[in-house]
């Protein structure tokens, strides 16, 4: 069974996000970027399926600017077998529908039985690509997986939902979007990082798949959250009570 894992390059989760001075978006110049943490979980799960003898090959795919190929190398260093890199150099962020369309073509080319991907990317929190891909392919989908079992031609997925856990089964081929609690991704060792440089990455463009990546949404403005006002340190409970009264809070 071949597994396809789409991965996205995003601003590192440790980094404080800065909005550009002109409000035209987030400042990404010279900022640390990483693989989307949800996608990292997806890669880990696919590699574990291969290590368990369930998957035969793990193919990772990414779409984005030239540097996004680094994200594929991260996945290859973890243990994925090969990569597909779709260069999208248009300078604006590609939207989930265009991504899903390209992924649908990749699925058609590669013929995986399972697509595992992060439930959302931490930069724009769209939570849409997996669902759109399932719709385009007409495949079953199981989202927000915190547990995944493959057996007898079906994926059994435990999902995190409001109020508890829900278990669903999807007949393969299927789309599974993953949550952070599914697994704890490994760190690549130095020898594996070096080996990953020699693993094959096919280079493509959206045009190769007949997809127009131009955005359909318009970003009106980007703003930072309002700055929190500085607090004051009070010496006693009485002072606190007095202060709360003074502010009209009690």
């Amino acid at each position: 069974m071949k597994v396809l894992v789409p991965v996205k390059r995003v601003i590192d989760y440790n980094i404080k996000v800065r909005v550009k001075a002109d409000g035209a978006g987030v400042d990404l110049a010279n900022v640390k970027m990483s693989i989307n943490p949800f996608d990292e979980v997806a890669v880990e799960e696919a590699i574990r399926l291969k290590e368990a003898g369930i998957a035969s090959e793990v193919v990772v795919a990414s779409i984005g600017e030239p540097k996004a190929v680094d994200t594929l190398r991260t996945a290859l260093a973890m243990g994925a077998d090969r990569g597909i890199f779709v260069l999208d150099d248009q300078g604006v962020e590609i939207e989930p529908l265009a991504v899903a369309k390209i992924l649908a073509k990749i699925v058609a080319d590669e013929g995986p039985e399972l697509v595992i991907l992060g439930k959302q990317a931490i930069d724009n929190d769209m939570n849409a690509t997996g669902q759109m891909l399932a719709a385009l392919l007409g495949w079953g989908q199981a989202t927000f997986a915190s547990k995944l079992e493959i057996a007898d031609g079906a994926a059994t997925v435990t999902r995190e939902v409001d109020g508890g856990l829900q278990t669903v089964a999807a007949t393969l081929p299927a789309i599974v979007s993953v949550d952070l609690r599914l697994n704890e991704p490994r760190f690549a060792s130095l020898p594996n990082i070096m080996k990953a440089k020699k693993k094959p990455i096919a280079e493509k463009t959206p045009a190769d798949y007949g997809v127009d990546p131009a955005p359909r949404l318009q970003v009106l403005r980007t703003e930072e959250p309002a700055t929190r006002e500085a607090g004051v340190i009070l010496g006693s409970v009485d002072e606190l009570a007095a202060k709360l009264k003074e502010e009209g809070l009690v």
């Binding site: 010279n30 970027m33 690549a188 070096m194």
Partner: protein, 813 residues
């Protein structure tokens, strides 16, 4: 805490250096000081620093500073009651070559001179310190038991706690937005209001360049710095290391593989690898890539590819490194001055402003830097000579290309050996003599002196002039025979050297002579004559030396070393009365030194000057049809004149001197010649670590003159008590190597001195060293030993005065 409107000192920047400065100021009783931090403390480069804490440094001033920091940190947690993770794990440095072993021997020796116990190791001893290491290709190494690592944020917070305990104020999330000057005071502007203060400190880390721009309208210059990116990464926990630590109750020592260029350190139970790669990267240097308004707690993108060569090497050294995953890569901004040393001290051109930034080993140096900065502010001087980090060592030649090119060169060679005949090649020819092309055509091998290119030696066809040939500690090399020939030409005939960039000031105005007499330790020459003058501080220590040429009652030319250009100008300017004019004329005049017994014969054919005028006279004259000033003096110690020539005529005069038969000689020969005369080098022999009397400058001190001068009382007291140390000339029984700076002098097992400079004297045919010796070990004829790269060389103390022409008969001929 209400926001202050006044303070004595405002420090801009809350990294370890700014906080340490506040701590030291507050501890010294200057409680009315304020630190402004744009974000949270440590938000710049401090938070992502690796926290390595070495004692050893290849630079004396820096080593002094680091040694102080480490001693401070060992007691700081208890002093301020703020716990700090500080692991004194020790560290080993690895040597792959004999030349590196020699560098280590020298570091061990000067460490011993500072009271540090640092040991040489065999490869097997290195492996005993770090059992997981391959050693088959090593020559040996160096073990420093006091090396280690400290948590950068904790040590900064501990210093902040100490500063607050002593009354210092820290305002976080308070960006300074600019400075202005009013009635002789600074006003520092912030988003929360203005603070009026006496002193201001730029401790802005990688933002120091931006902050420095605020001072340009007040006389400042663009800060000579570049931001580079330094990466290190941490592995996951390694079970074998965890087990070793469990068994031994401590961490493994740090490894610095200096020939490959990386450090490797245990971090909890993982490893931390930090290379200094050749193909390093600068950030925020292009116009289309400006430094962001705020980069607090941010990092650059990972770029492990850049480190591949170093990673592969380190994995072969310590195979455990590759057994676990890479958990975290840190690629952060780090500010570099062109030479990679801090900019710490007075801000050039700006009153009551100081710089304290460009720390590339900021955690190890921060403690000492705070002490030094506090001394600059409170006392106006420092306990130790800190010229090697003084911001004034960089003058007006440091453009953007220089700053960047040199920073990249320095970073890529962070651990490289600095050999005595090696010149770093990046960003050269910033300032050249009008005769530059002719010098090159004559085979000149150039060196940079305050940005000016001067000939070090002149190669002949077939000489190996490669950079590789200079990578040796040996005195011998392609230059050796040429230096000897040049020195002998000066001894037997006549030589000429183009001393472009020799610093030159004009001082004039009513009362100039009286003012100078109140500043210098000795006397002034009469009009028409010249002599050396020395300046001391209140401790009687050597501040600087100048040649003083007196044209009229109150009209002087003062000359000093090329490197001293801004330092000495500011030193004079600081105390200068308003009605005196002091101007820097360095770029207007090229001085040629024409020296040798045949110099009178040679000059007589070229000039109408009166060449019978005695030693230490000067006169204006025509030479080769050009108006020049002739000064009868010779730093080479022979009959000779300096020919001070307007820049526009420098080619004409040089051509005339050469065509008349003067042999070219270079700075290496000049150094060999001057040491035979006991003439002193600026910031080698002449250091504020030593007093005028210790430096043997008694004849330039007039304690009976009527004027007071800085240090007069201290020098009087020292003269009464007798000096404890004395700069001494030694003839050294050394074959292949001259004693490097700060080599230790022994009498038996006792340390009795340190070498300040050394060279081979080709006129006396002997190796010479100048050393600051304990006075009671410096009796003429006394036999001592100098430790030169680990071997003891016999040395004999010479009588006071020069070993060549002690009665100055040749000078006066």
């Amino acid at each position: 805490m209400s926001f202050p409107t006044t303070a004595r000192v405002v420090i801009i920047g809350g990294g370890i250096v700014g906080v340490s400065a506040l701590y030291h100021l507050a501890k010294a009783g200057w409680a009315d000081c304020v630190l402004l931090e744009k974000n949270e403390l440590c938000a710049g480069s401090t938070w992502h620093a690796a926290g390595n804490c070495p004692n050893v440094a290849p630079n004396y001033g820096v080593m002094t500073m680091q040694r102080y920091s480490l001693a401070l940190y060992r007691g700081l947690a208890d002093e301020v009651d703020y716990p700090i993770n500080y692991h004194v794990s020790g560290a080993i440095r690895l040597a792959h070559t004999q030349e590196r072993m020699m560098e280590f021997e020298h570091m061990r020796s000067w460490g011993a001179g500072m009271g540090l116990k640092i040991d040489m190791c065999t490869p097997e001893e290195l492996q005993a310190h770090f059992p997981f290491m391959e050693i088959h290709d090593l020559e040996g190494g160096l073990w420093d038991p006091l090396d280690g690592d400290i948590d950068p944020s904790q040590v900064t917070q501990a210093l902040a706690a100490g500063a607050r305990q002593h009354g210092g104020a820290i305002h976080r999330f308070t960006p300074a937005t600019g400075v202005s000057r009013d009635a002789g005071e600074w006003i520092v502007h912030t988003e929360k209001g203005d603070i009026r203060c006496e002193f201001v400190v730029n401790a802005g880390g990688y933002y120091a360049g931006r902050i420095g721009e605020w001072f340009i309208p007040h006389g400042g210059r663009p800060v000579p710095m570049t931001v580079l990116s330094h990466q290190y990464f941490l592995t996951e926990a390694i079970p074998e290391i965890a087990a070793w630590t469990e068994e031994h109750g401590r961490k493994l020592p740090m490894i610095r593989d200096v020939d490959v260029s990386y450090y490797l350190r245990q971090d909890t139970h993982s490893l931390n690898l930090g290379p200094y790669e050749r193909n390093c990267a600068a950030a925020w240097v292009e116009d289309d890539d400006p430094i962001p308004e705020d980069f607090s707690f941010q990092l650059f993108p990972d770029d492990l590819d850049r480190l591949e060569h170093y990673i592969m090497d380190a994995m072969e050294r310590v195979p455990l490194l590759g057994t676990q995953g890479v958990a975290r890569n840190i690629n952060g901004p780090i500010p570099y001055a062109p030479d990679g040393l801090p900019l710490l001290g007075p801000m050039p051109g700006v009153p009551n402003a100081f710089e304290a930034h460009c720390f590339t080993f900021g955690i190890a140096q921060g403690g000492g830097a705070g002490k030094i900065l506090a001394e600059w502010i409170i006392e106006g001087r420092t306990e130790w000579d800190m010229w090697s980090v003084d911001p004034r060592r960089y003058t007006d030649y440091t453009d953007k290309a220089y700053n960047r090119g040199k920073a990249l060169e320095t970073y890529g060679h962070e651990y490289a050996i600095h050999f005595p005949h090696h010149e770093w090649p990046a960003e050269r020819n910033k300032k050249t003599s009008p005769n530059h092309d002719r010098l090159i055509a004559d085979g000149a091998q150039m060196g940079a002196y305050n940005g000016w290119e001067r000939a070090n030696w002149f190669a002949k066809p077939g000489d190996d002039v490669s950079e590789a040939a200079t990578e040796t500690w040996r005195r011998d090399g392609p230059w050796a025979q040429r230096i000897r020939e040049e020195a002998h030409a000066v001894r037997d005939g006549v030589g000429v050297i183009d001393m472009c960039g020799f610093t030159r000031y004009a001082l004039a105005g009513p009362g100039a002579a009286g003012w100078l007499r109140g500043r210098i330790a000795g006397g002034l020459p009469r009009a028409g004559r010249m002599n050396l003058i020395y300046f001391s501080d209140v401790r009687g220590r050597v501040m600087t030396e100048m040649s003083c040429i007196r044209h009229g009652d109150d009209d002087f030319t003062l000359m000093t070393a090329a490197a001293a250009q801004w330092h000495d100008f500011e030193f004079l300017k600081a105390a200068l009365p308003n009605d005196l004019a002091l101007e820097d004329r360095t770029a207007e005049i090229t001085p040629f030194m024409v020296s040798g017994p045949k110099s009178r014969d040679l000059l007589s054919g070229l000039t109408d000057a009166d060449l019978s005028l005695g030693w230490l006279t000067h006169q204006n004259a025509k030479l080769a049809g050009v108006d020049v000033m002739l000064a009868r003096v010779s730093f080479a110690g022979e009959l000779g004149w300096e020919v001070h020539t307007p820049q526009a005529d420098a080619q004409t005069v040089y051509a005339a001197l050469r065509d008349a038969g003067a042999t070219t000689f270079g700075m290496y020969a000049l150094n060999a010649l001057r040491i035979e005369k006991g003439y002193l080098g600026w910031k080698g022999d002449l250091s504020s670590d030593y007093s005028l009397l210790e430096t043997g400058l008694d004849r330039f001190v007039k304690l009976d003159k009527e004027q007071d001068f800085p240090g007069k009382a201290a020098i009087q007291a020292e003269a009464d008590a007798g000096v404890a140390k004395r700069l001494t000339t030694l003839i050294v029984d050394t074959g292949e190597y001259d004693a490097p700076y700060m080599s230790t002098v022994y009498a038996g097992d006792a340390q009795v001195g340190q070498v300040t400079s050394a060279a081979y004297g080709h006129r006396v045919d002997a190796a010479i060293a100048l050393a600051m010796m304990d006075a009671d070990a410096a009796a003429p004829g006394a036999e001592v030993e100098i430790e030169i790269f680990g071997a003891r060389a016999r040395a004999v103390v010479q009588p006071k005065g020069a070993v060549w022409d002690p009665k100055n008969l040749r000078l006066r001929a």
